[in-house]
């Protein structure tokens, strides 16, 4: 916002929030930038998303917030039918440099209407870019790239990562969209994860390395555009793939990765591609039930062992 006056933020409680907590992403922005550029909105997701689409078509760079991922359904007409399509159907005449921040997360007992990761819905819709930072560096770098990208970008913020320790990069620090990161190099099995699921995968590494298995962990960072080169290079090296996400496994984003690898690197595969994700139920509230839903490190371990036939 310091860099460009066309950037403004809008959403429910982005200025004055019920949580006046420095860990919240828009904390302090109202004081710094004032009510012209920090817009608290009514509880109107369609209008919030429409604000972003219309204002971006006029050359502004809106950064709007959808409070929780399941609420994106209320904004989905504006995102799916408009943000993603209007440039294409204008024949390339218009552009929509907007950013939608959406808060995601499973595992805090909020239940299914506050927790429901719908990234596969959005990725299925042409014209939308989607990034999902897992580290402090990427939280800044991907957000900044999203804001200054000429196309609509959805930035998913895993709420469980708001308290993540890390070094906050100074200045105009950007991570390019569409570039995955090899978080841990390895030789026996590729494990792809994004957001909070990256840490689930990381936890599984301890057990796996005790068993003498070396995993290469890829932090996907960007679902659209997809860094196919990074994934294929890794799978061609290891011959195995496990995909981990917290969304429902059925028709989840992992299915796309599994299919893409099967189509493009089948000859390199030494075992079946495995997907770790949630069963096909809404997120239940009781912690004993939520554990059934949320994939844990033991699920990743089991998937790696299966594909290794061990």
């Amino acid at each position: 916002m310091d860099m460009d006056d066309t950037v403004f933020i809008a959403g429910e409680g982005v200025g004055v929030s019920i949580h006046q907590d420095p860990n919240m992403p828009t904390y302090g922005l109202l004081d710094k930038f004032g009510r012209r550029r920090v817009k608290d909105t009514p509880v109107s997701e369609a209008a919030i998303a429409g604000l972003a689409v219309g204002a971006s078509c006029m050359g502004l760079r809106p950064v709007v917030e959808i409070m929780f991922f399941p609420f994106i359904t209320l904004a989905s007409d504006m995102l799916v039918n408009h943000a993603g399509k209007l440039r294409y159907i204008s024949g390339g005449k218009s552009s929509f440099p907007l950013t939608v921040r959406v808060k995601a997360g499973v595992g805090f007992g909020a239940g299914s209407q506050h927790s429901h990761n719908l990234e596969a819905w959005m990725a299925h819709s042409p014209g939308l870019k989607i990034v999902w930072p897992a580290t402090v560096e990427d939280a800044k770098g991907l957000l900044l790239s999203a804001i200054f990208d000429p196309d609509p970008v959805i930035v998913v913020e895993d709420m469980m990562l708001y308290w993540m320790p890390g070094e906050f990069p100074d200045g105009d620090f950007r991570i390019p969209l569409g570039k995955a990161r090899v978080a841990v190099p390895g030789t026996d099995c590729t494990v792809i994860a994004y957001g909070m699921a990256l840490y689930t995968a990381m936890k599984a590494l301890e057990t796996l390395s005790e068993k003498g298995i070396s995993c290469e962990v890829i932090d996907l960072r960007s679902l659209v555009p997809l860094d196919k080169a990074c994934i294929l290079e890794s799978v061609r090296k290891t011959g195995r793939l496990v995909v981990v996400h917290e969304a429902n496994r059925f028709c989840g984003f992992g299915a796309e990765l599994a299919a893409m690898v099967a189509e493009e690197a089948f000859e390199a595969l030494k075992g079946p591609v495995k997907r770790v994700g949630a069963p096909q139920i809404p997120v239940p509230v009781a912690s004993s039930l939520e554990k059934v839903f949320k994939p844990g490190p033991e699920d990743v371990v089991a998937a790696v062992l299966e594909t290794m036939n061990k």
Binding site: F8, R36, K39, T41, P42, S44, A46, A47, A49, G50, L51, A52, V53, G54, A55, S56, C57, M58, G59, L60, P62, D77, M78, N81, H82, L86, R87, Y88, I89, S90, G91, G92, K93, S94, S95, P97, P126, G127, K129, D149, P150, D151, G178, V224, P225, L226, K228, A229
Partner: protein, 328 residues
């Protein structure tokens, strides 16, 4: 600001605009009856020309239009290129949107007809975004959004009216009440017979006007645009008009009483205005016929242009999605 006083020259321009729209859409009716000539559905605003012409003639060039599936009149009144519009409707490469929009999603940013959505009720949220940009940049321009009586039942319209009213955005909401939402009359889909009265609940003036009287539409548009332009926030205009054809050209109006159609045909905005101009001595029969002839020729030339244009190269199907496409 535009002239309040209507000169004979201006009257001729209003008439010419309506005639062009009518001829254009009558030609689409004819083309749509030829097999495989036009792709997709043809959704026309025959009978509603006075709304398009009256509102758009009141705009300044920097004002923004957001339109819907019944957009031809809005775009033609705005001065969009006739040839490129017709080619687009025919699905040709020289179409205004390179064959990717067709009739339903025509957007012509070069005349500030910035966005068009065929999703019923989607225009108002888009319009509030454009209007926010106008307010944010302290521009003096206004965003005008056209939607129907059917769309007025969409939640998105209410969200957009509330937010526009709250933030005092320069949006002029134009509800073209054409008597039909699909095959449903307003009394079957609206809790109130006076849609414009909802405006009060969203902190904006709501007015209605005879939508078949082009000068009345023009005058009320000027008044409400001035309200929006002066920073007082949005305004709402309900234009009472009539959809002379079906929802689309495949709809043969089995549910419409022919006597009602006949009655509205007598109130045709173009016939009415034609007679008014003759009565006022603005022109004689020969002048009027020359305007009509000219419109016919322009539309015929547009069809010829569309016919001469090729279908888009299949490779272009994969372009225009992103400004910065994935490098792979």
């Amino acid at each position: 600001m535009k002239e309040e006083k209507i000169t004979p020259d201006f009257q001729v321009r209003l008439f010419t605009s309506m005639v062009l729209i009518r001829k254009f859409e009558e030609t689409i009716v004819a083309l749509s009856q030829e097999p495989y000539r036009l792709p997709g559905m043809q959704i026309l605003a025959n009978g509603q020309e006075a709304v398009a012409t009256g509102v758009v003639s009141a705009l300044e060039s920097e004002d923004i239009i957001v339109s819907n599936h019944r957009s031809h009149g809005h775009l033609l009144a705005r001065g969009a290129d006739l040839n490129a519009l017709m080619a687009e409707i025919m699905g040709k490469a020289d179409g205004v949107n390179r064959g990717k929009a067709g009739t339903l999603h025509l957007a012509v940013p070069e005349v500030n007809a910035l966005m068009t959505s065929t999703v019923v009720g989607a225009g108002p949220p888009l319009a509030l975004g454009a209007a926010f940009a106008q307010q944010y940049q302290a521009l003096k321009s206004v965003t005008v959004v056209f939607f129907g009586d059917g769309a007025a039942a969409e939640g998105s319209v209410h969200e957009a009216m509330n937010l526009s009213g709250l933030w005092k955005l320069p949006v002029l909401f134009i509800c073209e009440n054409n008597g039909w939402a699909g095959a449903q009359r307003p009394e079957e889909h609206s809790a109130t017979p006076h849609i414009h009265k909802r405006a009060e609940g969203y902190g904006m003036p709501g007015r209605s006007v005879d939508g078949n009287d082009v000068e009345a539409v023009y005058h009320l548009s000027l008044e409400l645009l001035e309200h929006c332009r002066s920073g007082k926030g949005p305004a709402f205009m309900e234009t009472l008009t009539y959809r002379m054809r079906g929802h689309g050209e495949q709809d043969h109006q089995h549910y419409v009483d022919p006597a009602e159609l006949d009655a509205w045909a007598l109130k045709c905005p173009i016939k009415r205005y034609r007679q008014a101009l003759l009565n006022a001595g603005v022109g004689d029969e020969a002048d009027i016929q020359s305007i009509e002839q000219d419109a016919e020729e322009r539309v015929a030339a547009a069809v010829a242009f569309g016919d001469a244009s090729s279908y888009p190269d299949p490779d272009t199907a994969m372009t225009d999605l992103f400004v910065r496409p994935p490098s792979a």
